[in-house]
């Protein structure tokens, strides 16, 4: 019994599931369910389909380059059977799985952290200033409370004001 990976979405295919498609050049495509199979028949590229692992790893949404993946890589050298090697491999499998999951979690956390930037907050303030004070009020009285950086921006607007008001009238 062997647990295969779906060619399209990269999930594990358990025994009793899925379809195996053999192309005439003897390349075998395994699919975990008909969803993946149908997408393949539509000639979709898994690297462009957003819910697949291939897309997520390609676009940096998930951990892709890590030492823990080395265990699952295919090796073409046959190993002589040694009971101790087998026992150690089983232990290593479990441990490496734990480590991989922890690293994936951390990767996700780091990904979510980066978005909390000060720049994002400033952008939000600029865009939603109308929630603080009405835009008409701001134009009439430019001395109204705004953060220092915002004031500098206001000065530029005043210099072009003549041209701008004409545009607004139009």
């Amino acid at each position: 019994m062997r647990l295969e990976k779906c060619w399209f979405c990269s999930s594990t295919i358990y025994p009793g599931h899925g379809i195996q498609f053999v192309r005439n050049d003897a390349k075998i495509f395994r699919f975990c369910r008909s969803k993946c199979h149908k997408n393949f028949k539509m000639k979709r590229n898994p690297r462009k389909v957003k819910w697949t692992k291939a897309y997520r790893k390609l676009h940096g949404k998930e951990l892709n380059k890590d030492a823990t993946f080395e265990l699952e890589r295919r090796r073409n050298r046959p190993e002589r059977y040694d009971r101790n090697v087998v026992q150690n491999t089983i232990k290593a499998l479990k441990r490496i799985e734990e480590i991989r999951l922890k690293r994936e979690e951390k990767f996700w956390e780091n990904r979510m952290k980066v978005k909390k930037d000060k720049r994002a907050d400033l952008e939000e303030l600029k865009q939603n200033i109308h929630l603080v004070k009405a835009p008409v009020a701001l134009q009439e009285d430019p001395s109204l409370a705004l953060p220092k950086k915002m004031e500098k921006v206001k000065v530029k607007v005043e210099m072009r004001e003549a041209g701008e008001t004409r545009a607004m009238e139009e």
Partner: protein
Amino acid sequence: MNKTRLARLGDTIIASVKEVVGRGKVKKGEVVYCVVVRARMPRARSDGSEVRFDDNAAVIINKQGEPIGTRIMGPVCHELRRRKMVKVLSLAEHVA
């Protein structure tokens, strides 16, 4: 051969030769036995999975189950092993 049964992957069928390429061992219009080695129709495997090939293909054999030809193109199915078609399997490029 039962007329009401349909052939699947690995089944032996009786066919008539429609088209011949070059001068081979078989002539057009001959009635031959052949075994289905590839089929587009998915066939269930004992482990619960299903196999599908890209096209429909058969290999002409004699009554003993040995192929008449000398070469087999493309992959063949595993089901032949159960039918004891060892020669077909050994000639094949790839067994899927």
